[in-house]
Symmetry: C2
Subunit: 341 residues, 2 copies
């Protein structure tokens, strides 16, 4: 039988309250008494039943998600996943609030982080933008004892507790590797389309892509990077122009979002041979494009997994508990036409 507080109380010769004080690191226990209790805990191999503890506390984890209100399917999907998690909150003992902020706006994000902090939640998850005032706002959060998790895009130099997202350098490298091997000919031009160099995930994907291209496929030339700000219309215009001016384009790597525009541009282009195109994030649009052969591969991060992972980590941090590391590693999904879900 699993030992309970009663067992350790009687073994240590103290009352339940004292045991509770020791377990919860509360003050007001004589060092000697505390030692007795701790010994009993160790000897009996006691592990506290969090379900019972949460029941007694009537605890509910208040969580804030700060998400950009981008008009692209990936972010829409991410927001939907957070809402889905919020709708399960009655069983999770969580209460999730969403704050939407304009995309690529560091000041707005920093401000939202401060707003979140004042609500004194158990934890905050947010899509980071690389900027000093964001870093400072995050550190204010952790200083207040609030768990902080970055989602999708990480924030170096901050004291966030965890990053729920993929290894974006590896994603870029993978894209390059696939493209290099998919292209039959050597020598030719490859275009790269990013969202914004303001966010770390895009910079990292680009770095990974460039690195492998230079190391392993030196005959492929990279054209100057286009920035579409993850906006479908902007992306469509940029890609259409690019295809126009480079009729013999071999490959195109779209490392950001706004692929609706990308696909439209590709479909309406009248190239002799269509380029090998690799994009990110599996949505209805990219799924169809893959099936039709407009895209050759899609790298994906599972937004549902990221959100559920962020919640698990925030709850665990709030309780000072460990997580199953392997479960929280977000993998890079590679989709071809053949393994669509």
């Amino acid at each position: 039988m699993k030992p309970t507080v009663h067992d350790i109380a009687s073994k240590a010769g103290v009352s339940l309250a004292t045991v509770d004080r020791v377990i919860n690191l509360r003050p007001g226990v004589h060092a000697v008494t505390r030692a007795k209790v701790e010994t009993a805990i160790l000897e009996l191999g006691y592990v506290r039943d969090m379900a019972a503890a949460n029941l007694a506390k009537g605890r509910s984890y208040a969580l804030v998600f700060i998400l950009p209100n981008n008009d692209n399917s990936f972010m829409a999907g991410l927001r939907a996943e957070v809402r889905a998690a919020a709708s399960r909150s009655y069983v999770d003992r969580t209460s999730i609030r969403i704050i939407e902020v304009p995309p690529f706006d560091a000041a707005a994000l920093a401000q939202a982080l401060d707003v979140a902090r004042l609500e004194k939640p158990s934890g905050v998850a947010f899509v980071a933008i690389d900027a000093e005032d964001v870093v400072e706002a995050v550190d204010r959060l952790t200083d207040s004892g609030i768990a902080a998790v970055t989602l999708v895009s990480d924030l170096t130099g901050s004291r966030r507790d965890h990053f729920a997202g993929v290894d974006n350098v590896a994603a870029g490298r993978t894209a390059a590797s696939l493209m290099g091997r998919f292209l039959p000919e050597k020598g030719g031009d490859v275009a790269v389309l990013a969202g914004s160099m303001l966010v770390k995930d895009h910079r990292e994907r680009l770095a990974g892509f460039k690195a492998v291209m230079e190391e392993e496929f030196p005959d492929l030339r990279l054209l100057p990077v286009l920035e579409g700000r993850d906006d479908p219309d902007t992306v469509q215009r940029l890609v259409a122009e690019c295809l126009e001016t480079n009729p013999q384009l071999l490959g195109l790597y779209s490392l950001g979002a706004g692929n609706r525009g990308l696909i439209k541009a590709l479909k309406s282009s009248r190239q002799l041979s269509s380029p090998c195109v690799i994009a990110h994030e599996l949505t209805e649009n990219t799924t169809n494009a893959l099936a039709e052969g407009v895209l050759d591969a899609v790298l994906n991060q599972n937004a549902g997994h990221e959100v559920r992972s962020a919640i698990r980590v925030l709850k665990a941090r709030a309780d000072g508990l460990a997580v199953i590391e392997a479960q929280e590693r977000i993998r890079i999904d590679i989709f071809l036409r053949d393994n669509l879900p």
Copy 2:
């Protein structure tokens, strides 16, 4: 405030015990009373707190995992994941027992299923072998009200509740697609190495691989399938022979396990140009082989995810609850040298 049994009791004008009887579908409640309670439940939007219920019941989910004692890294990893889950059982309210059976032995599996049934656990997870007596044993399980989940390899025709594994037809198709695109030349021989045609996952991978090869890469000829029984030594011998007799082999798809032998054979072969090799399951061996360029791609199923998923599903089935479908879909991971974990 979330409604509790007290709220619905007072609203329905009955006692807690009666409410409990209705909630748990226990007999001994007048139809009229039951209706009153059910109305109250609906009107208040009551959802029962499973954590509190489990606490009161002192419930622990007894789970049995039946696993083949194969000598290959994938199965060893799977067994390790189950043991890891078992070691977390004190927090999961599960008690997991592992039964090991000889590989590819339908009779032994059927017998183990019957043994498991007699222990009256909440659920059973097992790696299926396609055979009639296994199907019957599984149906005896579900007839006894025990949840049954297939792991890694599925069992058609049985009444198992769920399959915790990947879409193996898609995996085979994906392998073919990658290989066809990776191979620079047209025309040539491709070898396929399976474990056993007795298990459904291997048959499905082969079918998917063949289908795409025929549809999209008709110039690549498939050599007769080799069966290595997932045994490293057998595999090594078969592959060495194959490389010997087909010096100009273009590609090799290893759709089973025992890749230790595959890699040894590849390394010691003195081919002019090494073939494009795609294998399954990321282990220490295949990871190293990918990094060294001996393998070109590895398709993986995350054993940890499969085990955790099986446990979640078994627990949910035992309680008659729903699961988050998306969370239980096991994805096919594609690993290249560039996205190794």
